[in-house]
Symmetry: D2
Subunit: 454 residues, 4 copies
Amino acid sequence: MCGIIGIHNHPEAATLAYLGLHGLQHRGQESAGMVTVKDSGLQCHHAMGLVADIFSQDVIDRLQANHAIGHVRYSTYGESHIKNCQPFLVNSMLGSMAVAHNGNLVNATEIQKKLEEDGAIFQSTMDTEVIVHLMAKSRKKKFIDRLKESLCQVEGAFSLLFLTKKKMIAVRDPSGFRPLVMGKKKDSWIVASETTALDLIGAKFVREIEPGEIVVFENGDYKSYRLAENLPKRSHCIFEYVYFAKPDSHIFHRDVYEVRKGFGQMLAKESQVDGDIVVPVPDSGVPAAIGYAQESGIPFEMGLVRNHYVGRTFIEPEQSIRHFGVKLKLGAVKNIIEGKRVVLIDDSIVRGTTSKKIVRMLRDAGAKEIHMRISSPPTKWPCFYGIDTPTRSELIAAKKSIKEIRNYIGVDSLKYLSVDSLYWFEKQSQREWFCDACFTGKYPVGSDVISNLI
Amino acid sequence: MCGIIGIHNHPEAATLAYLGLHGLQHRGQESAGMVTVKDSGLQCHHAMGLVADIFSQDVIDRLQANHAIGHVRYSTYGESHIKNCQPFLVNSMLGSMAVAHNGNLVNATEIQKKLEEDGAIFQSTMDTEVIVHLMAKSRKKKFIDRLKESLCQVEGAFSLLFLTKKKMIAVRDPSGFRPLVMGKKKDSWIVASETTALDLIGAKFVREIEPGEIVVFENGDYKSYRLAENLPKRSHCIFEYVYFAKPDSHIFHRDVYEVRKGFGQMLAKESQVDGDIVVPVPDSGVPAAIGYAQESGIPFEMGLVRNHYVGRTFIEPEQSIRHFGVKLKLGAVKNIIEGKRVVLIDDSIVRGTTSKKIVRMLRDAGAKEIHMRISSPPTKWPCFYGIDTPTRSELIAAKKSIKEIRNYIGVDSLKYLSVDSLYWFEKQSQREWFCDACFTGKYPVGSDVISNLI
Amino acid sequence: MCGIIGIHNHPEAATLAYLGLHGLQHRGQESAGMVTVKDSGLQCHHAMGLVADIFSQDVIDRLQANHAIGHVRYSTYGESHIKNCQPFLVNSMLGSMAVAHNGNLVNATEIQKKLEEDGAIFQSTMDTEVIVHLMAKSRKKKFIDRLKESLCQVEGAFSLLFLTKKKMIAVRDPSGFRPLVMGKKKDSWIVASETTALDLIGAKFVREIEPGEIVVFENGDYKSYRLAENLPKRSHCIFEYVYFAKPDSHIFHRDVYEVRKGFGQMLAKESQVDGDIVVPVPDSGVPAAIGYAQESGIPFEMGLVRNHYVGRTFIEPEQSIRHFGVKLKLGAVKNIIEGKRVVLIDDSIVRGTTSKKIVRMLRDAGAKEIHMRISSPPTKWPCFYGIDTPTRSELIAAKKSIKEIRNYIGVDSLKYLSVDSLYWFEKQSQREWFCDACFTGKYPVGSDVISNLI
Amino acid sequence: MCGIIGIHNHPEAATLAYLGLHGLQHRGQESAGMVTVKDSGLQCHHAMGLVADIFSQDVIDRLQANHAIGHVRYSTYGESHIKNCQPFLVNSMLGSMAVAHNGNLVNATEIQKKLEEDGAIFQSTMDTEVIVHLMAKSRKKKFIDRLKESLCQVEGAFSLLFLTKKKMIAVRDPSGFRPLVMGKKKDSWIVASETTALDLIGAKFVREIEPGEIVVFENGDYKSYRLAENLPKRSHCIFEYVYFAKPDSHIFHRDVYEVRKGFGQMLAKESQVDGDIVVPVPDSGVPAAIGYAQESGIPFEMGLVRNHYVGRTFIEPEQSIRHFGVKLKLGAVKNIIEGKRVVLIDDSIVRGTTSKKIVRMLRDAGAKEIHMRISSPPTKWPCFYGIDTPTRSELIAAKKSIKEIRNYIGVDSLKYLSVDSLYWFEKQSQREWFCDACFTGKYPVGSDVISNLI
């Protein structure tokens, strides 16, 4: 997954972009980068690691400018390598141009193959590079026409930010898979993956960039274009609500926390159980657990405590410690757990290995019964639109029945949220505005390509 | 504040000490260090920074041994400098010896002056150094006698771990200000500031080291001694329960989470208010907020969301952003807050500046009313036993009335927990086993020295 | 300037390439990189800085393979940026391919413009990128034919190493501007910019790669091809002999030390002076000074001593120290200099600022007279074939007469070597096999493009 | 070995001390440190590594002050550890005080034992710590008297710099083993191990600090004291001339380069040989080789070229390369060496392993004969006064006859300089003013202690 931020027309654009990236750090912790516009051209800095480690005051001072775009990344397509850091900066007929991309193109490999046959060279292993090639190759005269022509050839998810010497351009794919919002801070315009980044830099949320919309910022103002006359139905990623987006963000016209809490309430309605306490897996399970507790009347307790100083690489003892990996992140509150029937709430189960360790930790702490409740349906299908889910064979719900998963994880009962209840916040007719392929296998875009990949 | 860990008789003592320090990281983030026993003598590594950054696999491999003690530090006495990193390693008549200290000595300056007059040189600015000098100067023959003689001269808080070529010694001051627990992992013994470190390394909690107890570990076994025949009354630090200890720890014979949740319940009883939601300041306010919500029946909501990627130094824009400092750490969930009467729960107010920013953030998010409830009494007095509170003049409650604080912070109402309710968990007769000087100004030890310092 | 190394068919190719780069470090200290072939594809590591800092044992272990190419760089064309580090790694119709380049293309800008018009995108600012584009665009079927077709379109200096999954290819431009040598170590083949790298890794020098030769290494063997039927005359860079190559290298069929010492001998013949001692500017002036001393009979003395621990960035005092910059690098031996008529030998004068400082340092040390002798003709013209000389306006000899330079530098006399004497080692007929454009302004290749740039 | 620098009364004392340390880097590359005086007290920074890496502009800015002392270290006594970095900073009755030490105390262990028995604790493993203890323990009232009393108890080599809040004090042991010079730069005074540091910072050499002299700098002026009434004879370290000091330094009243060149001339007189070329082992053998060449009339050639980018740790191939270690540092110039009778000049032979590798490298380059000439007598005895020579058992000349060494190294002939010729520069009567214990075993100070150690 990735996060993007763009600042147009602010004297401290580099500083704001830096802070914005910090606010989007939860969307990607592998690398980060920024490109700004100076009189001398586009300036770039990117590196592997966290935003706070990559950008020093020196670097920000060197990049400082009126316009900037930035990117945080967790690799979904393309290896983990400095060459794949974004924003992606190239020179072509169009002059210097940088692009930052959140999402995933389904037909990138096909297009790359054709472009290579036509003599193109590829320097990264990112799907984003094909977009730039298509634009450079287009015979259209205007930038906007080249952009449209190129983006109409790619299929998949793309929330994009372009930066040229004069303009910043924001684009969101017609399906609107990934969020993309627009804000204002005095005379400057901000575009970001989530509203939490706007809040952090003190910008006011204006509106979402519409699916299929192109917004061109220039000289402190903007114009809006439509990617094509006929746009397909929307397909917002339901998993942004389930897990990905930050709970204090407002995307797809709703507050994430509220939707997530509703999942918990629906889950309580569907899968009530006689429990003594409701315990979330922190932090992602917290809002649903609060919803579950409120709906069920079972007391909410933070029976698992998160460790805030988890380093990224860890030295393990050779004589392994029971459920070591989870212990670094979580601790169990014994008095709370001991002798209790615990309703354990998590947002999803991917491979099942972590859940298994958490359950053992609760058993060691003396839990009498553990009833696991998942605030989304079973994750059975990989995502091809930007979320870094593992292959089908690694998804436990793709291979095992719920009963088998229950046994594997070692809980007394296990229930998932139904797909229907997922849409509690939406009129039934608008359910189809969401992509829930990870739960249903119904891929709204590029399904022919995808069927060959699964 | 500091945290200490000791491993006796485990082939991977360095690895376990490293993990233990990681589990105690919340007790000190300024520096960390470790000393282990090799045939060649005591080996040492310490540096400024976080445990995960200081110890690489290489370093751990080099230090690997059967016995180890470690230390994390946030300076309370002595400057922030590499010379003040612990464990403190010296050579003397007693051979090589390392010591790790959690706590603060009240009469260190007086003793240092006397020792200097007698020709001693001091290389650190830590109070711990006087203990080592006293031991080296003692005319007693046995280590244990030197230790007793020396520790009987110092006043204040000390949970100590010594390491020599043959022994590991754990000591807790007679007042038992700071926690110190003992655990077992197969044939090895573990001593740690809190039980959370035992849990992390898979050790079983055995018991607390008693106030005034000396435990000498040697050859896989231990012997217990008494620091003196007559010991003063206990004075456990109540602030460990209020804020400092990790909620999943068990110290002073109780689970921290449970005590802290009880503070919230008592607070609800004492200072009920007509609110729509109970919102904690995460993470420290969470257990009390849960208690408050359960007692009052007002729904608990995570209306403030914590950012998990806060770097330590931050690049600020010159054009300042409203309540910037807090925004880096917290985001408000608008839909939850908007139009609501918020009962805001925090564990304490020190200077009041952060609370003020949080309140403004909630107002910006649309809170209709904000009723702040603090799960401890007003913090009016500095700590001289190891907690790094500011001087009296910086403590807002030492200078302002509650009404003035309310106005300063900008809330509709403000209530603190009463000192009486603080001891909800204890028979009235045992209240005196705790030190609550930060709330009451009653310093149980060294009050004559302290009266000159305030 | 740059240096390149290639290892074909050695189980420790990464280690050897690393050591080879170390041996070529004098050819570029700005960045270094390496690409190796693993079953999984081409692996790359590069960074800004020195070889010894960039490659740790971990990195080498990760890269370890049977084939490797490496590069050290000091920017001549293209900015100083991580994007411009080499080897340059791309994917295209030809699969994955890496290229390392020493030299400079004269017509890169023209070709890039055409390629961009045709839809190509450029990600670096290096001339090397056009070669890769031309190869990808070629309609030829075989790799070797694409290579020939592409390289026939570029003008300038190029010693190149390509690495694909199966082959390593070495190419030297028809003029043979830059050196490129081939060596053998048991069953493995080594290609390097200079023989000093072969010596370092214990490889035997086999022969130079010929100007206009393509050598394809595959399966432990090699085949030689000719870039074109008709090749222009050779144009070896005389400045490699004057300054650039390491004195213990053997290039262009001669030992560098010997040629350089001969420059000193010719200089003594041409510009004898009544001096007491011959003093070189270390280290580059040493061989010529030895030659001068032997020819003239004036004693050679190391009157200037080099400091071996010069860091790259230096903290300067605000109250400036006389000729500070030079003092960091050199110290004068007073007793040797005092009262003496010093014949000061350097290889060349570029801007003149350093020479001026050295002269003042010698005056301060008490030199009675200073007669500067330069072991090459005045450097009047910039290099377009790979040496990072400044623009004409910065070359002191392009703007000032020798007399004016003498006054500027502050010496009693100043003489340069004549262009004729430069070729002391060569039959007169073969003088034309060298490029001496920096001294004569006669650019052997691309003179039409160059005339527009000067 | 170590180097020390002190700056008294200069507004950029930290910058000058930094530069001075840089100029003394050849005296110690293991660690470096600096202490400066601020109003707030003494400020300290030290770390393992090279001066240029340890001190950033930030650090220098933080330390900037009017007075500063600095130290570079290569461990001679005490382990290689951050605790042993100097200057050594302590608090005692005397207030805050820092000390930097070049040299070695012979009776430190004895004194430390006594001090420990008396209750002292030692935190470093450096002999310097005993001096500070003695001063703290002294019953004298005045600083100068404490200093005298303390230093009269220690035996060995000590060039010392003390820094207190008001004063800088320079002391040189009565034997004057190590050099220590005084310079002036406008209103500020500089003390340094060698004059090369004065030259670098633009200070004028004033005079040497005399053996047994104490110089107290205060308020921009200084007073000189005598350590004791009766001082022993001088014992300047002859090895400073042979190898240690920088050739452009002036110490013990002579230019190092000149003395060293004289060694070469004497060597030529004593051990003439029929050679074709004289080749030094760079850089230490250069001045003697120049002397040898001038005296013998055999041409001087730089047949071995030094690599200027030698990193400190090096990745070695598993399949070892012939004489790998030396190849990283030196390359042979084949044409110069091939077929020649080489007179190879080095300053000394310690273990003989490096010499053996150099000789093989010359043989591989085609040398016909190799006649090794060493510009000092055989190094048979370890140094106890500050030079980090190995133990006797590792000194090849202590175990083998010259003939055996010749065979081990593999040269056609091997000759050392005689002890008599070592003193070519001195009237015979003043030979006794030097310590040549490393060659003769005659230890001028502490011989009773030393006899137990050998």
